[in-house]
């Protein structure tokens, strides 16, 4: 699998590390939440079989966090964007 880093260009998987679901970050834990909601925000991540937006870190490249839209069944990648330029 290769990821097309917006800064570095197309790079081998071995240069990246994987964090997981990019959209759970919306639900950042806060003191206003119930204990149940905090546990969900910290620990629960979607892990679908199909199209998924996820966070990858270009550890051995430019050091950017990337939002990658990928089909977890085929590894087909539909979009890659710098997390700093993230759109909702």
């Amino acid at each position: 699998m290769r990821i097309n880093c917006p800064f570095c260009g197309e790079r081998d998987l071995s240069e990246f590390s994987y964090l997981g679901d990019a959209d759970s970050a919306k639900a950042i834990a806060s003191a206003a939440q119930s204990e149940r909601e905090q546990i969900d925000a910290v620990y629960l991540r979607a892990n679908p079989a199909g199209v998924h937006r996820e966070l990858w870190y270009h550890a051995f490249g430019c050091g950017s966090w990337l939002n990658v839209t990928r089909d977890t069944r085929t590894h087909e990648i539909f979009a890659v964007q710098l997390s700093r330029e993230r759109t909702p």
Partner: protein
Amino acid sequence: MSDECAARSIFAAVPHTAGTGRGVIAIERDGLAIAHLAARATQLAQLTERFREHFGMVLPDGARRVAAHGVAVAGIAPQRWLLIGEDAGEEFVSGRLALLEHYAALVELSDAYAVLRLRGAQVRASLAKLVPIDLHDTRFRPGDVAQTVLEHMPVTLWRLEDAPTGEPMIELAVGRSFAVSLYEALRESATEFGFCFEPTAKG
């Protein structure tokens, strides 16, 4: 004072040739002044303008390297650059670059890096065994910069203009504590083509 304190090449104690021939020539780039520059989030336009005024170059907005008047600047990440001064001395960062500090975070890293220049007909063939990037003549062009990994070591590569002989020239920057490991990987990879090392080159 004993010679223990004298400056000496980081490559002084390693073998300087391998195989037969000169397919790959490695040249130590000692005495460079090196700094990291990271634009402050809202100051990119001002930084770019000040840099252009004082250095006569536009900060690259991608993985490219430009050089003028003994200063080179390489884009290594979004809004981050590696600055390299040739024969610039210790005042490069505290002097010439200091005016950029209003617009950017500036870190002096001259002693943190070792830089090797590779030239020769087999530079690409040797590096192709070591890095997971495409080094083809048309994909890694003069002025291109790449950060990648070489035997688990983070490295930054850039391609210079070809030598007058038409041979490609690529420079590699690596954390100084990795320098000998990088050198040994290069030497081993280039053995089949003939490898030799030359001390510091100017320019």
